[in-house]
Point group: C2
Chain length 336, copies 2
């Protein structure tokens, strides 16, 4: 047999639906209203100067059946997103963390990646209580202290499917839009490129008796375009590009910047993503960030470097925006 995967070539307008149409034809997630209220209250509590970041994290699922037994998933444990959220918190940001249910969360991620379960860290204290085992105490206390310290600056919102994610992303960015340049959108989630529209999905579990299975999936509309143009046009927008083929990485990152008009693409390869990324911006050479194997082994996450550099660029962007506003105000005041 031939290749099992085909991507037939057709004119783009025939295949990709309009982002707005997507929202008309799919059901919003159950937590949308809760998320709206929680995010609005959270943003309201941040005053007028604290920088805000929306970090998206983890992979989206695409159901293959309306009564879902099977789904297509994207490889992502949520490591980059959860590690980045920690760094933003340490730099004073208020963090909205839009993450895949059951994926890694800031601070606790150290304790949910491995095969250990919660009981492996605990022991009865002999007086009817339960304590953390001595060998884990120091690290656990450090994590717990940070977790408690930063909790008031962190709001977590969970998604599972592509559709949940897109509805929540639109809702949250619309709430953030008025905060303008002081907000960064850090879109690290691994979002599906293909989906099966609800109306052409199988109603029940697909039966295996009949032999081979052919799935036809549609391309997901590119939501970065309406996000940058319409939903939150003044925010500082960072997207991510993960590839496995090194040849495609730079051209695809540059193409995305030109197409969507946002600020930075963090480009990385599947096999080297934990120690090597490129920050790609329009009109400049890609900026390589890299850590050594020694740093990696000592627990230094490359997200520290990514977030520090992006926060620096975000400050410049915010100041430039404030200056532009100030001169616009001055011009307005000076106008006859």
């Amino acid at each position: 047999m031939g290749a099992a995967v085909e991507t037939p070539s057709m004119p783009e307008e025939c295949r990709v639906i309009d982002p707005d149409t997507y929202f008309d034809h799919n059901r919003p997630p159950a937590n949308l209203q809760w998320a709206h209220d929680a995010v609005a209250a959270f943003v309201g509590r941040q005053g007028s100067s604290r920088p805000i970041v929306l970090v998206t994290s983890g992979g989206t699922t695409v159901p293959l059946e309306n009564n879902t037994v099977r789904f297509v998933d994207n490889f992502s444990a949520g490591t980059r997103g959860s590690a980045s959220a920690e760094q933003f918190l340490e730099l004073g940001y208020a963090v909205l963390f839009l993450y895949r249910e059951q994926s890694l969360q800031p601070f606790s991620r150290q304790y949910s990646q491995r095969s250990e379960c919660i009981f492996d860290y605990l022991r009865p204290d002999g007086h009817g209580g339960v304590s953390v085992k001595a060998e884990y105490t120091a690290k656990m206390l450090d994590g717990l202290t940070k977790y408690e310290k930063y909790k008031p600056q962190l709001l977590q919102v969970a998604f599972t499917t592509l559709s949940d994610y897109l509805f929540l992303l639109r809702e949250i960015t619309l709430i953030l839009a008025p905060t303008g340049a002081r907000t960064m959108l850090y879109l690290a989630a691994a979002v599906s490129d293909f989906f099966i529209p609800s109306h052409s999905m199988a109603e029940h579990k697909i039966q295996s008796g009949a032999g081979a299975l052919t799935l036809r999936m549609n391309q997901v509309p590119k939501f970065l375009r309406p996000l940058v143009k319409n939903w939150a046009p003044s925010c500082f927008v960072v997207s991510f590009k993960l590839e496995t083929d090194p040849e495609l990485l730079a051209p695809k990152a540059k193409h995305a910047l030109e197409k969507y008009g946002h600020h930075v693409v963090v480009a990385n390869l599947l096999n080297t993503r934990k120690w090597q990324v490129w920050l790609v911006t329009r009109g400049q050479d890609p900026c390589l960030l890299q850590i050594s194997q020694e740093q990696l082994l000592q627990g230094h996450d490359i997200e520290q470097d990514i977030v520090a550099e992006l926060a620096r660029r975000h400050r410049e962007y915010t100041s430039a925006g404030a200056l532009a506003n100030a001169s616009a105000d001055a011009a307005l005041a000076a106008a006859p």
Copy 2:
């Protein structure tokens, strides 16, 4: 457009590869040798009379690319498998738990299903240590005590992909085969029905630029057949059938029993599986097990009833096997 899912009808022999061929064409998981040694040592420690059960749990993944970014997954948190493993332990079984990495595990499952993270249960004790918060102490101590008590009778082996699962299943059942009737195989994992053979998989991440995507997947060979006939022919074998369409459930369960010649199918529907299952055996009416909403709310798991009833049947099976062996021995001794 038409339905996005097609299962073209072809003669079965053209489509489904032989189970043995599968092992020739796929790579074994990295933990296969470790699992072999650990399982052999574990089984050796159980003496000659303790009942043994292999519980499989969680869903298998099917990669869509050789450099895996995307995969098809089966809906399963591992609730049934992990809850059942607890019950088998309480009934005196030695439990081999073959589970999907990051899915629920016995005892700790209560603390990993929800959005709480480990730090939500902990507080600094004020003397440089970390304790469980007062409100969680009683339940946590109960879980921890059981976890410590049953740990010597529990061996956990993790899988991720369909291929990992199948290699480990074969390896473990071959080790269990000599224990015969005193071993139950309780196959609760949600195993993929379709896969893309490695040689026809895309090498790199599938590109979305070209529009729609068509995936052709092959049917997974039915491994229950060699398992029952060749790998472990004397063990007591229980399989699971999950459907979403009530009309299909009973006929499919009976068909499976006739086709594979094993002992029990636990049949359930996606939407009612937490309070209603049928135990289906050859030549008998299906036996309905059901719990009330009140029981469910009070924390009674239906797995208690499933496992209790299956353990009873397993004892009968083991005794019948022992009797048959005894009369065969007697007949042999009496022979001239």
